[in-house]
């Protein structure tokens, strides 16, 4: 039914207008549901049959599809020779913009042939379709949980007490209830916003806050067991949190997450992973400073093991020292790996980004900031840090791949009005003579009147005349000033809520924030309903979307162009006489990013570069038929060499293989005529 009109990128760019694929007769004026995002991928697949393939990797408990679009020259092949980039969007299900960005990217990749000629793209526009559907449901409520029922309050019923749209405005907002034990108060200078009362400032709370709803099951709690489920966004194995309401029973407990993990682990060609959501590693590198289970430079060896490996249980050792101790004990030829020893000693997992990786994160972050500045998109609130158990952390720590999380919008920062301390205060005025006051001049007095909150018709000249005539003096003025109500403080409260309120007033005609309005609640009596509208803080109005994506999504290409790329920089054959040759090969990473990341070295997941000799008629005296170059930093070159014997002239191919950084080979001649 739907008419599709694809427009080439040239037209698109020159028009300066992004027209949504799949709905070509409509401008970009809405967000797409998870189902619609899948349909768009299907249409891409239909229109680009040769270079795309659609994978349905899972069905959610809410029976929604999890779709991945593969784009690339090897899309028909199971075994890939070229590296791939994986893009996952909206894993938490609460960032609709991320899904649009993923589809936008897919569109760009299809249009930009040079971006897909030597790599594969896997694009997942919605990793948590059940959660993501909440944006399109009535009433509007941000729910990151999938459709799996879960008994949050561990009573006799499941999902029996969720939110309710009591005032019928289609939005789940906040209820505030006067309560003697209330911890909240409204902000005096901005009564629409609430803050926690700070006793140390002499404040007293008067409200309790609840999400809009009632006690549906009569157990004395409101909204304590709503529908769902697991937040797919925190259902991944790095620092997964057990025994919580919404993280899932274990990492990968859900079809959506398990099949995604499986897909990525089985596609060993994936070289980098982007996560579109609300976290931004391009702006703020992954968080450091977490306390690890064991400090690897000061390991204490448990007594029962210490005796076994000839170590002193009262001393601390570095990991390298322990490796040496253990290596001495095992029979020759038996290899002791770091992971064996770490497992034996129970050292646990890496929890902070490794320093070598932070180097590229920091450098790229500087470049990204410049990029945003150019686009005038740098004036924004900070993005949140990655959650424990998140997809983007798993990518870095467990896949050992560069993990680039990107978001595309946060609320603009509120411009703090500069508070100039008034030149004249009541105290100063009290000590001032009338003459001194008049001597201040009209301009300064006018400023003083304004800062003191005097009525506008109370002009400086008038005051001067009054003082001159004796109808007013500095003492009386000081007294009056002291009695004036002080300007009310806007301090406290959530800066994000403040930013939302400002944005709502300025850009949304106030629709991002519901004014508090009285309501008669069945359980709580007289209450007020109001506050922030769900999604208003992370989902820009549709009129902004096209421009945001157009200016920011191409950063992905900047980063993809920095992937490690391995090649044979140089080969050299030296004849050592009598049919003996030295063969040398220099392997280079001509990309910017390291192969693999430091974490990829540590977690052993990324194979070394394999340099192998292919051909017949030679024997190896030194070196191996399949040698390994364990790692190459950006731009680094390492040499591999062999001593070979070839009786007759032969041709020999040196092949350089990686699964994520391309391949290269060169044929050399041994003993042939030069």
């Amino acid at each position: 039914m739907r008419k599709i009109r694809f427009i080439t990128s040239a037209v698109l760019l020159s028009a300066g207008l992004w027209i949504m694929p799949g709905r070509a007769d409509v401008d970009f004026n809405r967000y797409n549901t998870p189902e619609e995002l899948c349909n768009i991928l299907k249409e891409f697949n239909r229109d680009y049959p040769g270079v795309t393939r659609l994978h349905t990797i899972a069905h959610s408990p809410g029976n929604r599809m999890v779709c991945v679009l593969e784009i690339g020259p090897e899309c028909g092949l199971e075994e890939k020779k070229l590296p791939a980039v994986f893009v996952a969007a909206n894993m938490g299900g609460t960032v609709p913009l991320a899904g649009e960005a993923a589809v936008y990217l897919a569109r760009l990749v299809l249009d930009k042939e040079d971006m897909r000629k030597d790599k594969t793209w896997y694009i997942l526009p919605c990793g948590n379709p059940d959660g993501a559907s909440s944006f399109f449901s009535k009433p509007l409520f941000s729910n990151c949980r999938n459709g799996r029922p879960h008994n949050d309050d561990m009573d006799d019923a499941v999902d029996e007490d969720g939110v309710e749209d009591l005032n019928g405005d289609g939005i789940i907002s906040t209820m505030r209830v006067r309560d003697p034990e209330g911890a909240w108060m409204s902000i005096p200078g901005e009564p629409r916003l609430m803050k926690r009362a700070d006793w140390s400032k002499g404040e007293k709370g008067i409200y309790k806050l609840y999400t809009e709803g009632m006690d549906s099951d009569g157990d004395g709690s409101i909204n304590e067991d709503g529908p769902g489920g697991v937040n797919i966004g925190v259902n991944f194995p790095h620092l997964f949190k057990f025994h919580t309401a919404d993280a899932g029973a274990w990492a990968g407990s859900e079809a959506e997450s398990f099949n995604l993990i499986k897909f990525i682990m089985e596609h060993k060609e994936i070289a980098a992973i982007f996560t579109f959501g609300q976290v931004n590693f391009c702006l703020i590198p992954p968080q450091s400073g977490r306390k690890a289970a064991v400090d690897l430079s000061r390991i204490k060896i448990p007594e029962r093991i210490a005796g076994f490996i000839n170590a002193d249980p009262d001393k601390t050792y570095t990991f390298e020292e322990i490796m040496e101790l253990v290596q001495r004990l095992v029979p020759e030829g038996m290899e002791v790996t770091e992971s064996m020893v770490a497992g034996f000693l129970g050292l646990g997992a890496v929890v902070n980004p490794l320093e070598d990786d932070l180097k590229f994160y920091r450098e790229l972050s500087e470049k990204y900031k410049e990029f945003l500045k150019e686009k005038k998109l740098d004036d924004r609130l900070e993005t949140p840090r990655a959650s424990d158990g998140s997809f983007e952390l798993w990518v870095y720590y467990h896949c050992g791949l560069p993990s680039f999380a990107l978001d595309f919008w946060t609320l603009p920062k509120v411009k703090e009005e500069k508070k100039e301390s008034p030149e004249i205060t009541a105290e100063k005025l009290e000590k001032m003579s009338d003459e001194d006051f008049i001597a201040l001049g009209e301009e300064k007095i006018a400023a003083f009147l304004k800062s003191a909150g005097a009525p506008p018709d109370f002009k400086a000249k008038m005051v001067i005349d009054m003082v001159k005539s004796g109808r007013m003096n500095t003492k009386r003025m000081a007294e009056m000033l002291k009695k004036m109500p002080k300007p009310q403080s806007k301090e406290g409260g959530d800066p994000k809520e403040k930013a939302l309120l400002a944005f709502s007033d300025k850009e949304l005609e106030g629709k991002g924030f519901i004014p508090w309005k009285a309501f008669d609640h069945p359980d709580l009596g007289k209450i007020e309903i109001g506050g922030a509208v769900p999604f208003a803080d992370n989902t820009p109005p549709v009129r902004m979307v096209a421009e945001l994506l157009k200016s920011q999504v191409p950063w992905v290409f900047e980063l993809v162009n920095k992937l490690p790329r391995v090649r044979l920089a140089k080969t050299e054959v030296t004849s050592l006489s009598a049919g003996i040759f030295r063969l040398e090969a220099w392997v280079e990473n001509e990309g910017y990013l390291p192969y693999p990341t430091a974490m990829g070295i540590r977690n052993n997941r990324i194979l070394p570069v394999i340099v192998s000799l292919e051909g017949e008629g030679f024997t190896i005296h030194e070196g191996r038929k399949r040698s390994q170059v364990s790692s190459l930093k950006g731009g680094e070159i390492k040499k591999t060499s062999w001593i070979l014997q070839a009786e007759k002239p032969i041709k020999l191919t040196i092949a350089v293989d990686t699964s994520t950084a391309w391949r290269d080979s060169k044929t050399v001649e041994l003993g042939g005529k030069k």
């Binding site: 008994n151 561990m154 009573d155 006799d156 009569g218 157990d219 004395g220 194995p237 057990f242 025994h243 029973a249 274990w250 990492a251 990968g252 407990s253 398990f258 993990i261 499986k262 682990m265 289970a293 029979p331 030829g333 038996m334 290899e335 790996t337 770091e338 992971s339 064996m340 770490a342 497992g343 034996f344 129970g346 050292l347 646990g348 997992a349 720590y397 467990h398 540590r602 977690n603 052993n604 997941r605 194979l607 070394p608 394999i610 191996r624 038929k625 399949r626 390994q628 293989d657």
Partner: protein, 594 residues
């Protein structure tokens, strides 16, 4: 390719040489016999035979398939006439998670055979089968068991799930297995005469080697397991099957490969492991679980690593009670805490069952090397007590080697140890092959098997007997106003295990047991836990007093009091995951008896 042909040849011969008197074509008779080991196929046949012999007491489920497509079976033993299986305390028993640890499956088979065979003959067994449900999964790593029998192996090789893994990181997968050079079905040791070697012939027995002391002349170099350099990389046997460990691949507290070898790429990457996890989840009545391995003679409880908290005191008491009793049932076995007394593990079945299913769990490490004894009483007295030699025993380095060799010579007529024989090795030249055979070191000789399986099945049975048995009584109905009654109930548990583990309560794993009071035209005015019967102290529940969340401690009771307004009668129901369901109806009148 060469390896595969060899494997085929072995398949034909293995049955005759190493399995014992019964082989797969032979019909399996009930009762089962435990003077031999069952191959993978035979275990399946045995389960089918048990099910056919006792169709009304058993159910045979296909839990799932392995990486190589072999069936994983689970046998349910329960008496449907005394209630549905899921409403009785469940005891889950599995084994052979590691492919080489085969006697674990025999423990499972024996337990099933014993419970079913003694039903109706022994009142204790009859009661157990009537009151409990047993879930028996003899082989977790079905591919592993298959290959352990079919392929040449050492006693310790072939643990892994059959998930390809590039151990030596050369881009090739599982390309350099050990090789059965002499074609005897075993992977033994290789040694080479070498005046600069670290070993010399043991003067007490020329088959054994001892390390040379400084200044002594060497005689031998040990070259490791039988094999050649299959892939021409200068290393021997460096990339055999896997390694993905079926006991490191579970969902709770899983840690990646670099933290612990054998983890697999992600939790539940093993297809069979995932299927078994689902089987367990689908049986929420499982309150006791056993997972059998070899070796060392240990009954291990969690926690699995030190980052996990020690179990709540109440649970430790249950473990101590069961663990100490198991030590008595099986002499030489020790009750230990896994991470503290052995080593840390992540993603093991223990964590999954205890922390995510709320059951109690023991890992049984079967077989103690000391049982291979060859000593008179006098010699026994003179001998120094051995300690911790089991690990080194199967590595072939232990101090008990001589005695074990004498055991082999005199009690198995030499079947456990292969004498050294010359061999022309493609890389090492003239070498000798010999040493402990596959079916040695970690496995009891067939004549000792029955004792091992019976004692360990008895440890399981003791724990099964201690699963909760709760009874409900209404011990008071007292009129306290017009149409107002005080109803007091008591739930008592005659067994050691509480009706919900303390850990499960602590982490709020699932809803607690529910006690409800209902009746026609009856209102529950108040209800709560009666904490002091003499002073009428009650912790009343503010909302929904007719529904109480509770649990019954081991060897203990819990009492509740309800203030009920109405006439006629009330029904009190108790529903527990572990302790089943109970119901009592009483009339609302003074002194009503029950």
């Amino acid at each position: 390719m060469k390896r595969q042909i060899k494997t085929l040849l072995l398949l034909v011969t293995a049955g005759f040489l190493f399995v014992g008197p019964v082989h797969s074509k032979e019909r399996i008779n009930i009762p089962l016999s435990f003077d031999h080991y069952y191959t993978y196929d035979m275990v399946g046949e045995a389960l089918k035979a048990l099910h056919e012999a006792y169709p009304e007491k058993t159910q045979l489920d296909l839990i799932g398939k392995s990486e190589e497509g072999r069936a994983i079976y689970g046998l349910t033993i329960s008496n449907p006439e005394t209630g549905p299986a899921l409403k009785k305390p469940g005891i889950y028993v599995d084994g052979n998670v590691h492919g080489n640890e085969i006697q674990a499956a025999e423990v499972c088979l024996y337990l099933a055979d014993y419970l079913l065979g003694r039903y109706g003959k022994n009142p204790e067994v009859t009661q157990l089968v009537d009151k409990k449900t047993f879930y028996v999964v003899p082989i977790v790593n079905v591919d592993g068991r298959y290959h352990f029998f079919a392929d040449p192996n050492t006693p310790s090789s072939n643990r892994s799930l059959r998930r390809p893994h590039d151990d030596d990181r050369d881009g090739l997968v599982d390309e350099d297995f050990p090789d059965d050079l002499d074609g005897d079905g075993n992977i033994c040791q290789m040694r080479k005469r070498d005046p600069f070697g670290n070993f010399k012939t043991n003067p007490e027995d020329e088959r054994l080697l001892v390390r040379v002391k400084p200044g002594e002349k060497g005689e031998w170099t040990i070259l490791g397991n039988e094999g050649i350099d299959n892939d021409g990389d200068g290393l021997i046997n460096e990339d055999a099957e896997g390694y993905v460990d079926g006991n490191r691949n579970w969902g709770f507290d899983w840690a990646p490969e670099y933290v612990q070898s054998g983890a697999g790429d992600y939790p539940f990457s093993g297809v069979g492991i995932k299927a078994i996890a689902k089987y367990i989840i689908d049986r929420p009545n499982i309150c006791m679980a056993w997972d059998f391995h070899n070796s060392g003679g240990m009954y291990l409880r969690g926690p699995s690593n030190k980052t996990q908290n020690e179990f709540p005191r109440g649970d430790v008491e249950v473990y101590d009670y069961l663990g100490r009793q198991s030590e008595r049932i099986t002499p030489g076995y020790r009750y230990l805490i896994a991470w503290k007394d052995l080593y840390s593990t992540y993603g093991d079945v223990d964590g999954f069952i205890v922390q995510l299913r709320g059951a109690y769990f023991f890992c049984g490490e079967l077989f103690v090397s000391a049982s291979e004894s060859f000593k008179s009483r006098e010699e026994e007295k003179r001998a120094k007590p051995e300690s911790g030699d089991d690990m080194s025993a199967y590595m072939g380095m232990g101090g008990r080697q001589l005695e074990r060799l004498q055991f082999s010579d005199n009690l198995t007529q030499g079947e456990l140890y292969k004498p050294w024989k010359p061999f022309k090795h493609p890389q090492y030249g003239d070498i000798e092959i010999g040493g402990w055979v596959k079916m040695s070191s970690r496995l009891p000789a067939p004549f000792m098997l029955k004792d091992l399986v019976h004692r360990n099945a008895s440890a399981v049975i003791f724990s099964a007997k201690q699963t909760p048995e709760v009874s409900l009584e209404v011990f008071e109905v007292k009129k306290i106003g017009k149409d107002l009654y005080r109803v007091r109930t008591r739930l008592s548990n005659t067994k050691a295990m509480p009706s919900m583990s303390y850990l499960a309560q602590k982490v709020k794993l699932y809803p607690k047991d529910m006690l409800t009071l209902q009746g026609k035209n009856v209102e529950v005015v108040a209800g709560g836990r009666l904490t002091n019967i003499y002073f009428n102290k009650v912790e009343y529940k503010k909302y929904k007093p007719e529904l109480q969340f509770t649990f019954v401690p081991g060897f203990g009771k819990v009492e509740h009091q309800f203030l009920v307004s109405g006439k006629n009668e009330v029904t009190i129901c108790y529903v527990s995951r572990f302790a089943g369901e109970l119901k009592k109806t009483v009339a609302l009148k003074e002194g009503s008896s029950f």
